[in-house]
Amino acid sequence: MSTPGFSLPRPASAQQSAALPRVDRLGALLTLLGAAGLFLLPFVTFKANRILPGDPRGLAQVLPVWATCGCWATLAAVAAVVLFAVNAPLRLAAALAGIVVTGTALAAAANALTPAHNLIVRVAAGAGFWLLLAALGLLAADAITRMRPGPGTRVLLLAAFLGAVGLTLAQGTFDNVSVMREYAVNAAAFAVAARQHILLSLGSLGAAVIVSLPLGIFCHRVPRLQPGVLSALNIIQTIPSIALFGILMAPLGALAAHVPLAAAVGIRGIGAAPAALALFLYSLLPIVANTVAGLKRVSPATVEAALGMGMTRRQTLMSVELVLALPVVLTGIRIVLVQNIGLVTVAALIGGGGFGTFVFGGIGQAATDLVLLGAIPTVVLAFSAAVLLDALVERLDRVPQ
């Protein structure tokens, strides 16, 4: 078939869209999801105490009529915008308005259902709330993507988002929502867990970078070793995390038992040491592989020119090869950081600390709120790390090959 045959349908559909407004496909899907969340699923669940099963409540059952109607009207307006408007900033504004309204409705519902000074009753966000929030979040993400913000703008957006969430929480807006109740009880433990979580993921990443970069450079220089090293690291990567934590418990425990110095610096069969070691091992492959790939993408002519002009091997490596490979290496580091932030959660099983403590504690006590108290910050942390490092990679990769 000839090319003109392919190009024919295009003007036709363009005319069609001029005649009658096109419905945005993603907008339609997400509107359906949001509507389902709003009308078919409970917006909040009411529990007489922390562990009892919840009693589902719709928005209309909890809020006064005027508030419910206001909420529905705003969300209907949001739906209209995302269904028909193409303007990305407008879509973003609509999604944000939707998120504010939904959040306010949750806070209001929690306040309405909680008797004054009652710290036993729990009002949790229901499936409907989460579905609506997810739909609105996806809409906001889609609108931001359509605006193609530069790396700097994306970091600013992230900071604005975190700042807004932080301020709202600090204001006490959601204090009657069950997760925040759980937080109030565990505030001190939360701070400790956050510190452990960040330290473990960044520390193991740092150690892995220190080892992986030279290893990657070495593999690049001595291609014969490459398959061996990479498959060895690959095998580590295929061991399930819980199994790896378990495997490491025995030797580290033995080490602590027999070498007093090891025990003195905090190395034990359980706790942070095996967790850090396991995370470190998991981190090696992505960084080594990406270092090799990044160095490989530097054109041999560029390296030859560098040497030919009298740069030493070291200068060539530092100021040409590594600089050009950096975006790819950073992509590996991004993978590792996001992966580690998730894996640290599992490390709580062997006493590694971090937000996983809440997750597993919550599972043990059948307390969903406690699980969320661990899971939500983990997700926010991983998301922030991804946005930051993506921005950094894009920033450094301005110069094409």
């Binding site: 002519a301 560029t302 030859e304 040497l307 002009m309 009298g310 740069m311 050009l324 110069v399």
Partner: protein, 316 residues
């Protein structure tokens, strides 16, 4: 002056370069030609010790190049490769300043030198200094590659198929520019090419290589008139040798003096820089017997006849 003595490189069983000896005079252009895999690049890279020789040595102005660290030697020798090898993450000016920076020149001097070179290569410094290599055309990238190699005022410039990636018209322009530059800076140039026409056009002397050995190294007209062996004859193109010989002489060199009474008023006027091959072609095309050779102002200096040109198409 570069003196190459018995230079040899062996890779296992392969003799990439086999006991090559040659002398490259100061301020001259030596061109190395040969089939693919004949050892041209290896020979060139042993001059700046990007490749360490298995045997033999290279003297640069009387001094053994093995007597200092390789990277220091290379900072004194310009190097241009096919596909230029510009640093994609650095601007044109930063690329050109590479070696001066390695040599710790002062920034003012680097800036002045960069501007001078860009102008010499017909790139406006105001426009091109801050551009990145990917924003330039292939021909411009190639010129920046040459400027970068010349930045630290090297006495010697090594070029490995520097024009290989250019289209024929830009390539011819680049060759002319190189000749200008060579005259201007008095650089000694060793250039590797596949292209025998390029070799004849640029080389004061041409080295023909095959399977690692140097078959002949001499002035271009000697390669045509007295090839050392059949392979050289084949490479210089025996079918075309008469025309090739004509292309090596300019109208200015071959012009017959104007005898008294001759006005120099032939219908065809050629510049002194035209090659005899071009003049002959023009005469045949116009069906004419004589042409006037004139200087840049159009003043007649002498004349050329078809017979006089044909006489030069045979070995002396």
């Amino acid at each position: 002056m570069i003196v190459i003595e018995n230079l040899t490189k062996r890779y296992g069983e392969t003799m990439a370069v086999d006991a090559v000896s040659m002398v490259i005079e100061r301020n001259s252009i030596a061109v190395i030609v040969g089939t693919s895999g004949s050892g041209k690049s290896t020979l060139l890279r042993m001059i700046n010790r990007l490749i360490e020789p298995t045997g033999g040595r290279v003297l640069l102005d009387g001094r053994d190049t093995g007597s200092e660290p390789g990277y220091q030697l290379r900072r004194r020798i310009g190097y241009v490769i096919q596909g230029h090898g510009l640093f994609p993450h650095r601007t044109v000016a930063e690329n050109i300043g590479t070696v001066p920076r390695l040599l710790a020149w002062e920034e003012d001097r680097i800036r002045a030198r960069t501007a001078q070179l860009l102008e010499a290569l017909q790139l406006d410094p105001a426009v091109y200094s801050g551009k990145y290599p990917h924003q330039l055309s292939g021909g411009q990238q190639q010129r920046v590659g040459v400027a970068r190699a010349l930045a630290a005022e090297p006495a010697v410039l090594l070029m490995d198929e520097p024009f290989g990636a250019l289209d024929p018209i830009i390539r011819e322009k680049a060759q002319d520019d190189l000749l200008d530059i060579q005259r201007k800076f008095g650089t000694t140039i060793v250039l590797v090419t596949h292209d025998i026409d390029e070799a004849f056009r640029l080389g004061d002397r041409v080295a023909v290589m095959s399977e690692g050995r140097l078959l002949q190294y001499d002035r271009p007209e000697v390669l045509v008139t007295r090839p050392a062996n059949p392979l050289v004859a084949r490479m210089t193109g025996s079918a075309e040798r008469a025309m090739r010989l004509l292309s090596l002489t300019t109208a200015g060199e071959a012009a017959l003096p104007l005898t008294a009474g001759e006005s120099g008023a032939d219908a065809i006027v050629v510049p002194t820089s035209a090659s005899l091959r071009e003049v002959l072609s023009e005469l045949l095309w116009r069906g004419s017997e004589c042409a006037t050779v004139a200087d840049a102002n159009g003043a007649p200096l002498g004349r050329l006849t078809v017979a006089a040109i044909l006489a030069r198409a045979r070995p002396a």
